[in-house]
Amino acid sequence: MKIDNLSEYLLLKNGTLIDLDKKEKKEVDILIKEGSIEKIAKGIEKKDKFKIIDIKGCYIFPGLIDLHTHLRIPGREDEETIETGTKAAIAGGFTRICCMPNTEPPLDNESLITYLLTENKKYNYCNLYPVACATKKREGKELCDYYLLRNAGAIAISDDGSPISSSQILRLVLEYSKTFDLPYFSHCEDRELSQGVINEGFLSYKLGLRGIPDISETIFAFRDILIANYVKSKIHLCHISSKKTIEVLRFLKERNYEFTCETAPHYFTLTENDIQNYNTNYKVNPPLKKEEDKEEIKKALKEGLIEVIASDHAPHLSQEKEQDFENAPFGIIGLETSFLLSYEELVLKGNLTIFELLEKFITNPAKILGIEINKIKEGKEAEMVIFSPKEKFIYREDKIYSKSKNTPFLNKEFNCRIKTVIKNNKIFYL
């Protein structure tokens, strides 16, 4: 990745601007002056001091937002660092990422939030929004200091990686977080029910692996939404993966229950049948499901029931991942492939329009976090992605920016790619 500071004048010629407000594509030139968008028009005249990039055939849209990155910092800098993690984000088109608190030690006090933000400033590739723990040590017992955490820069709270098993503690978490207007990101899993490693069913029997019932997610999704709505607090459900959960979510949405939810690309591109030879790069939590679940997720994305696609980027050392299926950790990296997979699976196959897809990567996550995005408008800060919807790209190991390489999409050939990202007065060439 080549990273340059933006020159005084940068002219992007002949790009196709994706206007998310008007839902239209238009071919324009964009002139960026000192990091801000100076002019958007057709045929902007070149001048001597302009640096010019011809981006004919490429889409331009605002930077993507990831609601669900495991940055592994602090504690597992052998798996990911701020530098590699935020570079991987940029490589995937994300200019803003939320990092999850299941670190070692967990993000349950304000000094760790401050540490993360200070460290990120050293590189300043993308914006970091730490999600703080909902309970101390993520034990589901005592509330964290949300006021202090919010003041340090936490954007939401979650015990992600674990559910809050006690309904009473969850209620208090939601009431206390409402006080500070912090959304709760729910990891929906009934831990007593989900003692397994892959989706429970005939396949888990065939492979002889312990199964996780799909209803484990459904039960907690239902419970968590009910509790959040009872105390009128904000809830967002992470990585929804099953048809049954979606059916319950649809039932609740029709009855005006308030919640938002996300899925991850592997839940609408892979199924449990892709688990070949006990390949642990298909071991994720929640586990991959069946074809019908995959189709239901696509349907829910189309309906708008699932508003967000998040990476659930979960780096692991190959030494840890390359072992027996029982003991290997859950999770795959996803920052660099999330948008490409989604574009191919959803837009190229006609399930979503590019505008609908970008809502799930930009507008909706921003709404959930309560942050403003830099739209591509004159006067705004330049924060954008230049994306080729045609160029071939093979995701080889040497192209991976994440420090970990645990992905089932290794060597996959994509028919689209992220070309260039502009953020924080820098231009990143991929």
Partner: protein, 309 residues
Amino acid sequence: MKHLLSVNDLSEKDIYKIFKYASQFEEVLKRPIPVIPSLRGKTILTLFYEPSTRTQTSFTLAGKRLSCDVVNFSFSTSSLLKGESLLDTVKNILKMKTDGIIIRHTVAGVPHFLAYHLDKENIFVINAGDGTNEHPTQALLDAYTLYKKFKDFKNLKILIVGDIKHSRVAHSDILIFQKLGCEVYVSCPYSFLPLDFEKTNITHLLDFRKKLDGFDCVIALRVQKERHNLSYLSSIREYHLLYGIKKDDLNKMKKNALLMHPGPVNWGVELSYDVLEDERCVILDQVFNGVAIRMAVIFLLFQEKHENR
């Protein structure tokens, strides 16, 4: 008023009558020998199912200043906790031939239960705190403290800070101040706010500090460490930062405003140490007023009893 179970038992007229008597009894309390013989030969029983020193002592003193015999059944010495049912208690009280009882219990509604059964025997019941329900004499003494300062309740703005959901003091205070025509505000995290609280028409402030200059009285509630666990809060540190009243807060308040607390104070939690010296902090005046108010309540209940006979 045959019993005092709830602030709702009191009309506005009753409240002012209690204040009138309290003010007369204050004179008694200031005498070298602060006793009058009004209730000589009468007996009241205090039944405290929950540990309390100040309220029980305050009631005991109030009775004794009126020359009433006061017999204390307290938490640690009582056999009542050893499996005796409430109905057994009623039967015992009847046999003991007392005139009235003062009860504190961990469960809401116990004073009402006793009153229901003792009513026909012409024995009055005073609620000295029932669970998370009410504490009417505390509300009376809080209102009386305010009355002595302002003489009028109309247009007074009162802020109650703390655990609104579990505090019987807050519950009774809200009832009495609304009855007397004050504008009541509360401030607390949502975990301390009762569900559907908006139905009370009381404004809930998440951050009271911006509006501190508008209040005539701020009441800080005790963080009830013993009544329910601390899981409603993240930490004492964060609670004190957000909802603890400090010298800086007093500086923003009106010159003639009052700072009250039902006691006992958790210093460094709901109040910081530096507010004690401020003349607007009237916590000890509340204790003194409490005796006078309780004398008035006991006296008036006896008067009522006499009229009923």
